[in-house]
Chain length 187, copies 2
Amino acid sequence: MDKLFKYFQKYTTLNVESRATLEKICSIVNIKKGENLQSFGQTCKTIYFINAGIARIYYYKDGVDITESFSFEGEIIARVESLFTGNPSQKAIQVLEDTEVIAINASQLFSLYDAHPQIERLFMLIFEAGYVETVNRIESIQFHSAEERYLALLKKPQLIQKIPLKHIASYLGITQVSLSRIRAHIN
Amino acid sequence: MDKLFKYFQKYTTLNVESRATLEKICSIVNIKKGENLQSFGQTCKTIYFINAGIARIYYYKDGVDITESFSFEGEIIARVESLFTGNPSQKAIQVLEDTEVIAINASQLFSLYDAHPQIERLFMLIFEAGYVETVNRIESIQFHSAEERYLALLKKPQLIQKIPLKHIASYLGITQVSLSRIRAHIN
DNA sequence: TCAATCCTTTAACATTTGATAAATAATCAA
DNA sequence: TTGATTATTTATCAAATGTTAAAGGATTGA
């Protein structure tokens, strides 16, 4: 769990008691490449921290597999629109390599807030950071061309090297064919 | 301030003391159509609640005015990417009608959290709801055509009737000319 | 190793959106 | 009210992306 608490340390310092309390609602999960960590239709009640590997949130639109986001080692992943509303999620979480995650039980987490202000504050800060990321992503999607967005992704080698282009294409909001064209064009 | 506390009531019930504390960091601001409530380059230190009127967050990209979001009576507006990072915002908030807002001093608000768990919880829930909205907006921008998104906006008459089409066009991520074409096409 | 499957590229044509310019309509301030 | 400014539409051509189909590469499991 050390990697997780090192991650938490970026946001706030937890006392021994808060840490022990948090550890109790965390568990390590290992999962094989290609499998779903969470499936369609369930209400999201888990927040994941990636110890090693890669995961993506995806869904089907008109039968087409669309990637909403990728997460890498040392990052958090959760289906926010379900976690915070209690509605069943139409999205799933799949791992793109053999992956180890720490699963944080969100129902239990939320119920800790009253008695553990440090924990509430920690997740307030984590969610704020996620919120900022999505706001910045809207700007990127809406006002940069697919080519510009692809060029930006090239600066994240972990993403480009390890993820199938079809997922990158849908993440960029374009077809795989269009991404191939862009790749041919920029060489 | 009643409208604001009725809004808060949707998220959580505040005790008398929390309400009184919150009221102290709120102030009413009136501003004329077309003016900026907050300008470019400042760090965002205010969260606004709209008592009456319409506001938008916008910025310039390559000299072109881009609308990031609209907010209406009874809604919250803030430049999240600055508020939560402390970085200066490249965005401004402008009102599109004569508008009355309640300005909530964010620096003071954040410093209330430790002593007032109810207030912290309230804003945790408000920010969570905003986070969910932006996640849903990403889905809408990325995977629906401009025409589909415009048709969806038609269901919000307050937006369509009161906001210049040029702002709606940039909000949709297309040019004004393209929006005109879409409007002509669907009739 | 080999066959089957999945991934990626290429090509041809269709559709959408952008850029620019010009015309018309609406709004605003003196 | 009127002239100036701003907003919206229309037209034309260019560029970007979508759709479909086909071919070649890479990967994987038996």
